[in-house]
């Protein structure tokens, strides 16, 4: 037998790897139930219109059609993570092109889709607001007339179409700017980005003989699915059982509701199982996307490069429903200072309803947008002062003991090490590849921090009769490997190998609560609960063993490989013996649990003023520095990232290979955000809702070298010191690429994506 090794810190293959590689993993589209019907949606052709009436007779006359539901079949119940403004379907009026107006259940998908097109809806078109500026104009039509009366889970500041306004500041900004030797100022714009999970959204609902609904769906949280369905349909939670198949990635798109409420409504109506899978176009048009930002920003420093002041104003397009927008706005302001000591910072932002699809959570959660602006300004100041941009960042990097903007204590901070590592590994300053005829080469750096944490989570560990364990957390593994990491944490805490721990599939009937797989939080937040539950089990194992061995509990300890040992002796008991004892003789089966909620306050009122911030306790900080090597084709202006070096302080890499996977994936998605991806509207209609016209980088487009560098500054209360890595590597990408473009071509881009057209136009303008 090979000696037991710690399970944490090893690149163990994903626990579900065989299932995935052999193609047997079942995703939502693979599921089927006896007698199952298929659903289809009719979408709004108008950006803003009153619904005057429906005629469903033609659709109902189609053979095979079992049920049609329109807004007239729903009573007004609202859901929403921050502001409860959204029903399961358009009721009374439509607010964007593509919004669900009616749904059909039929014997097969083709019939359902055909019938949906036969539903006639009478509309009275209303004037629409398609940009935040239009929505803020005096006298602009209101997207939600009832905003004031909606239930809000925070003290929202709102007016007209602006549904959340937030202020966050520290220090005396005006005074500080007056003391600056250099001040840079600019406006920046970022685009809507599509999440592009390979798996489009879908759901399957079935009602049992007792009237309970069983629901499977593409999700990032079975509990948020349960909450959203129940809130929007007025169902008690005890009536809804939410489960998960394998999930084909989630980047924020599957955290809050998509079509689950509609599928449940159909199943309740027809009393047969109903499945609905969105087409790629529908997934583009009606799920959610990354917020377009407009950012006005000013940063000032002293001659020696010391940053003194920053002022930021953001305007976000929120789309037709609030969704996670208040959170994205507040978080973007919290991050807008960047990971630097800038004692005087003032941020203000608004998010505004428009007649477009809702914008919501997306990997980075507003951080990438503000970093694109802020990190270019750090470079600009460095350039003006003749300071190396990486050195400039090191000089201003937050000191280890310093609190975050707003006052939260930071307990681990590897920023300086991240910067030093990328400097060393990239050969920064040595310019490994000079420009050559036709190709301009440049290097750019950017740095950021990102949180992991947020809200409630819990874990239960049960010991089985043979001494192995079942771990339940309710956290959906969306492909990133959280089942593997949580299994490693549990196994290591109990000193067994991962094959002695089974990670149960999330299920609202059987799993303890987990807010969701979002906010880079599962390893850190759920990991803490898992470590706590495993510790609880370990304590109970020791108590039972002490009873068996007739010695004080203090004399026994857990030993490697699943044994109880008596301290100072070779006497051991295998876990199986303890499990047998508790199951059949004394004490009862061992069940350990841990519940927690992230609770360190974000704002210290002695330091900062925060108004309208929708969260009070956000999370712990991971840090990142990124260097990219960009090549610009001088003929076309096309910028390509040839190589990248990304160092991330993750506290402790529970599974280094999975950490690298997150760093690489974030960089690639960040490159799409930086260079090629852009949702374009033609009036109120999305002009490119297909992968033919919406271009994300493919295998040939990504850098041939992505160097992932793991930095470990342990988080004191993290599981084994770990903190999150899910989002952070994306955040710096647009800024680092923009800084490299400047280095290569001497032009600054203020608008994403940095297409060949925008780069060449800037280059020709600069000549």
């Amino acid at each position: 037998m090979s000696p037991y090794k710690n399970q944490v810190g090893q690149s163990i293959p994903k626990v579900d790897v065989r299932e995935k590689v052999t193609g047997r993993a079942a995703y939502i589209a693979d599921l089927s139930r006896p007698g199952m019907l298929h659903g289809a949606v009719l979408q709004s052709p108008y950006a803003h219109a009153r619904i005057k009436g429906y005629d469903t007779s033609k659709a109902l006359a189609v053979p095979g059609v079992r049920c049609v539901l329109t807004g007239a079949d729903f009573t007004e119940h609202f859901m929403g993570a921050f502001i409860k403004d959204e029903g399961p379907i358009a009721i009374g009026k439509v607010r964007y092109v593509g919004e669900p107006v009616a749904v059909v259940a039929a014997d097969d998908e083709r019939t359902a889709r055909r019938a949906a097109r036969l539903i006639e809806v009478e509309y009275e078109e209303l004037p629409a607001v398609l940009t935040p500026e239009e929505a803020l104009a005096p006298g602009a039509p209101l997207v939600h007339e009832d905003l004031a009366s909606y239930v809000k889970v925070f003290d929202a500041k709102f007016e007209g179409n602006a549904f959340s306004c937030t202020d966050l500041s520290e220090g005396d900004v005006d005074k500080a700017f007056a003391e600056c030797d250099v001040v840079v100022e600019g406006t920046y714009e970022t685009q809507a980005q599509y999440h592009l999970s390979l798996e489009p959204c879908g759901a399957l609902a079935e009602v049992d003989a007792n009237g309970r609904v069983h629901l499977w769906s593409a999700n990032q949280s079975v509990f948020r699915v349960q909450a959203n369905v129940c809130e929007s349909l007025g169902l008690p939670m005890s009536k809804l059982h939410s489960m998960t198949p394998k999930v084909g990635a989630g980047f924020g798109n599957k955290m809050e509701a998509h079509i689950q409420p509609l599928v449940v409504a159909l199943a309740l109506k027809v009393q047969r199982p109903v499945k609905m899978i969105l087409s790629r176009e529908e997934d583009f048009e009606m799920v959610r996307a990354r917020h377009p930002f407009k950012i006005r920003i000013r940063t000032g420093a002293r001659k020696d490069g010391t940053l003194l002041a920053r002022e930021v104003e953001t305007l976000l397009d929120g789309g037709a429903y609030a969704d996670d927008s208040p959170g994205v706005l507040g978080y973007s302001l919290l991050m807008a200072r960047g990971p630097y000591t800038i004692p005087n910072t003032r941020c203000f932002g608004r998010v505004v309803y428009t007649n477009k699809m809702r914008f919501g959570a997306f990997r980075g959660f507003g951080n990438g947008q503000v970093a694109f602006a802020g990190e270019q300004q750090i470079d600009e100041i460095a350039h003006r002062l003749g300071i190396d941009p990486l050195e400039m960042r090191l000089r201003n990097a937050m000191r280890i003991e310093e609190p975050w903007f707003g006052g939260q204590q930071v307990n681990s901070n590897g920023l300086a090490e991240c910067l030093e590592k990328v400097r060393e590994k990239s050969g920064w300053g040595r310019r490994a590849r000079p420009s050559r005829p036709g190709v301009k080469v440049g290097y750019g750096v950017a740095a950021c921090a990102h949180i992991s944490g947020l809200l409630a989570t819990s874990a239960i560990v049960r010991m089985l009769e043979d001494g192995s364990f079942v771990l339940s957390t309710g956290a959906t593994d969306i492909g990133q490997g959280s089942d593997t990491v949580l299994t490693q944490i549990c196994a290591d805490a109990l000193k067994v190998t991962v094959d002695n721990v089974v990670c149960a599939t999330p299920d609202t009937d059987g799993s303890p609560y987990n807010w969701g797989t979002t906010a880079s939080r599962v390893t850190y937040t759920t990991g803490r609960a898992v470590a706590g539950a495993a510790e609880d089990v370990g304590r109970q194992i020791k108590e039972a063993a002490a009873k068996m061995l007739n010695c004080p509990v203090g004399d026994v300890e857990l030993r490697d490989g699943g044994f109880i040992g008596v301290k100072g002796s070779n006497t051991t008991l295998p876990y199986a013996a303890v499990a047998g004892f508790t199951h059949w003789a004394s004490g009862g089966p061992i069940v350990g649990s841990k519940s927690l909620i992230y609770d360190a306050p974000t704002i210290d009122p002695r330091r900062a003023v925060a108004i309208g911030l929708p969260f009070t306790r956000i999370g712990v900080f991971s840090f990142n520095a990124l260097v990219v090597e960009v090549e610009i084709d001088e003929v076309t202006g096309k910028a390509t990232v040839a190589r990248a070096w990304s160092a991330v302080d993750v506290g402790k890499a529970i599974n280094p290979r999975l950490v690298e996977g997150q760093i690489e994936g974030g960089i690639v998605q960040g490159l799409g955000f930086a260079l090629t991806e852009e949702m374009v509207w033609d009036g109120g209609r999305l002009a490119n809702p297909t992968l033919m016209d919406y271009k994300a980088p493919g295998a040939v487009d990504v850098p041939y070298e992505i160097n992932s560098i793991i930095v470990e500054h342990p988080e004191p209360d993290g599981p084994f010191g770990a903190k999150g890595v899910g989002e952070i590597s994306l955040v710096s990408v647009p800024a680092a690429v923009a800084n490299a473009i400047f280095d290569a071509a001497g032009v600054r881009l203020h608008k994403l994506p940095m297409t060949p057209e925008r780069v060449l136009t800037a280059m020709l303008g600069a000549d």
């Binding site: 016209d693 271009k695 493919g698 020709l764």
Partner: protein, 285 residues
């Protein structure tokens, strides 16, 4: 219900269209099937050319011409080293189409019949001075590539006519360069430039340049090209041709780029394509 027909010979295929005038021809199906799936085409009958053996393959003829069968997949054309000299322009263009699955499935006959102006073959075939061989109920004919691509998604094919082959004239001493500007690799071009250059002791003895993806059909200016024949392809002369080409374009604004940008970038791409082809022609590789 769609009728699916699989004729074994070109004559049988032509006959299918007599019986089913509304039928659609299917070569690789990469475009046609996608359109049917999206509800953009719903033909009563589909005439598949897949079983017509004589339509597949690339064959050099004794007179130096090369024949590419209409059913030849892009993958085969992209790998055909006998497409050399000026004919190489077609190989280079085939190699930039989409990605391996599409190159395995799509064919030259299907691509040019569809006549998407943003596709890769149109400009390449115009620069190659290719001729398109078509057969209909009235027999066969050859159409010059320049005359074949008529408008957006419109060719000189008469109803019931099918593309059977593409013929490339010899150009053994010339060399080719293909420029394709894309947002991401494998996408349809924002702009494409196909250049064929032959040099004779420092002087240009043949020059053919076609621009694609910037209007309803490829643009080539034979008269402006001839101004450069006999000269040394100096930067000014090339720039004159490039800017005339840019003026002759009729680009649109779309999700890939603006028309302004296309006009701005094309002359730059033309200059590079000519320079590259010239260097190759002069053996510099």
């Amino acid at each position: 219900m769609t009728l699916f027909l699989e004729p074994r010979t070109v004559a049988e295929a032509v006959a299918c269209f007599r019986d089913h005038p509304e039928a659609r021809c299917m070569s690789g199906g990469a475009t046609l099937v996608a359109m049917m799936n999206a509800g953009l085409a719903d033909p009563p009958a589909v005439v598949s050319l897949r079983r017509i053996a004589e339509l597949v393959g690339i064959a050099p003829a004794a007179d130096g011409w090369t024949k590419i069968g209409g059913m030849t997949p892009h993958r085969v054309t992209a790998a055909e080293t006998r497409l050399a000299g000026g004919q190489a322009i077609v190989r280079l263009a085939a190699g930039r189409i989409a990605n391996p699955p599409v190159r395995n499935m799509g064919t030259i006959g299907g691509s040019i019949s569809f006549s998407d102006p943003a596709a890769d073959y149109p400009a390449a075939l115009v620069a190659a001075d290719a001729e398109i061989e078509v057969v209909g109920s009235g027999g066969g004919r050859r159409i010059a590539a320049q005359d074949f691509f008529v408008d957006w998604y419109t060719t000189a094919l008469e109803p019931g006519e099918i593309v059977v082959a593409v013929h490339l004239p010899p150009a053994p001493r010339a060399a080719a360069a293909y420029e394709k500007l894309v947002k991401t690799e494998g996408d349809m071009g924002i702009a494409t430039v196909a250049a064929v250059v032959e040099m004779d002791r420092g002087a240009c003895s043949d020059l053919r340049v076609a621009v694609g993806a910037c209007g309803p059909h490829p643009v080539r200016l034979r008269e402006s090209e001839s101004d450069l024949i006999g000269g040394r392809l100096d930067a000014d002369a090339v720039a004159r041709l490039a800017s005339r080409l840019a003026e002759a374009l009729d680009p649109v604004d779309d999700v890939r780029a603006s028309s302004d940008y296309r006009r701005k970038v094309v002359p730059r791409m033309v200059a590079r394509a000519i320079a590259t082809a010239r260097a190759r022609a002069e053996g510099e590789q």
